[in-house]
Symmetry: C2
Subunit: 190 residues, 2 copies
DNA sequence: CGCCGAGTTGAACTGAATCAAGAAACGTGG
DNA sequence: CCACGTTTCTTGATTCAGTTCAACTCGGCG
């Protein structure tokens, strides 16, 4: 779903409003494996994934990359805490394949918020949806077997599950890469 | 920290503004074990815990209560998704000891939002803080041992850790009650 | 006094991690 | 377009943290 469709689905805008809103965003094409934000930097933009996908991740004590979240086509992507509060980001933001993004700075977003109160509603919708999704993942991680967690992943990110390196998914699901590999091999038997 | 102090810390308000804002809230005293919202109901209010503590929980497949979150003194408490989108709540909201709450309906909150743009900022602060906290818990649950998770709990909710039934904490941390009991008994040896 | 829920302790079991080694896929430069 | 090196994935063997099941203790309350 395109950016303007997404906006319109969440909140009703007029043609003119939509046009003006889109003008506050910048379109950007980025190529596979490009890093948008590094750990420790301020996340200066909020991104909308028009086409492609990305992920956020951090390095654990053993310098191993841990995927924190995936952002598929049609989703907003950012290091929320860093973006909204201008704090150093705890996470890397990386693009996983050639992608097209719409980005907006905090200042421009604030401008939109004050110009269009409806945008505030949109902001709340996006962030409460995120909160719900994180709680869902938490429940999955906390009480389900490795097998069930993988099924959760397939349901939540069907488009992503087969297109990114196994290790990214394993760390996202909180299991060893070997475990995920075994689960997948069981699947393909049937 | 009292409600007005909390408001003032997050966003600067004038005396008059603060007074008006407080007037949109209702104070309510509730007693231990009172249920504010049941699973399946709409969460009609956003609560601020002036004094006391509460938790959200759900029933798993075996009808066992799983604590989703604790809300200590000075925190906002609600079933966010249900409150903001008027959907049936996936969680129970329960008060864990005699408490004093300030509550506000969605309509009144919207009124505050349009009257005081600064309130929108406050809303974003509160919800991004929540998001950060949930991500932190997720990281703790995903990659830490039972022992470390308990330490995380002590750090995150020091006031709560010793005042609520063991089972509530165990389910919050995603471990068996027996495991938590053993961890605690090791602590008290030293 | 006796009951009941909450917490503790023990023993056996198990899902998944870890360690280790090899196979496959990928991309980069010659 | 092939060859080589690197990264990613698979498979096996072993180990262990934490679950489960079961029995027992403790403290509060009718």
């Amino acid at each position: 779903m395109s950016f303007s469709d997404t906006l319109n689905e969440l909140v009703q805008f007029s043609e003119a409003e939509l046009h003006d809103i889109l003008n506050h965003f910048t379109m950007k094409s980025v190529s596979k494996n490009e890093i948008l934000v590094k750990q420790g930097e301020i996340c200066k933009y909020l991104y909308f994934v028009e086409q492609g996908m990305g992920r956020s991740y951090y390095l654990n004590d053993n310098q191993k990359e841990i995927t924190q979240w995936f952002f598929g086509t049609g989703k907003f992507m950012s290091s929320a805490d860093s973006f909204f509060q201008k704090k150093p980001s705890l996470y890397y933001l990386e693009v996983l394949e050639d992608s097209v993004l719409f980005l907006i700075s905090k200042e421009n977003l604030e401008r939109l918020f004050s110009k269009y109160p409806k945008m505030e509603k949109l902001g709340r919708l996006v962030i409460t949806e995120m909160l719900t999704n994180v709680f869902n993942k938490l429940n999955a991680i906390q009480f389900q077997t490795a097998r069930e967690r993988y099924d959760y992943m397939l349901a939540e990110f069907p488009d992503i599950a087969y297109q990114v390196p196994l290790g990214h998914i394993a760390s996202y699901l909180g299991m060893a890469q070997e475990t995920l590999s075994r689960i997948r091999s069981q699947d393909s038997i049937n």
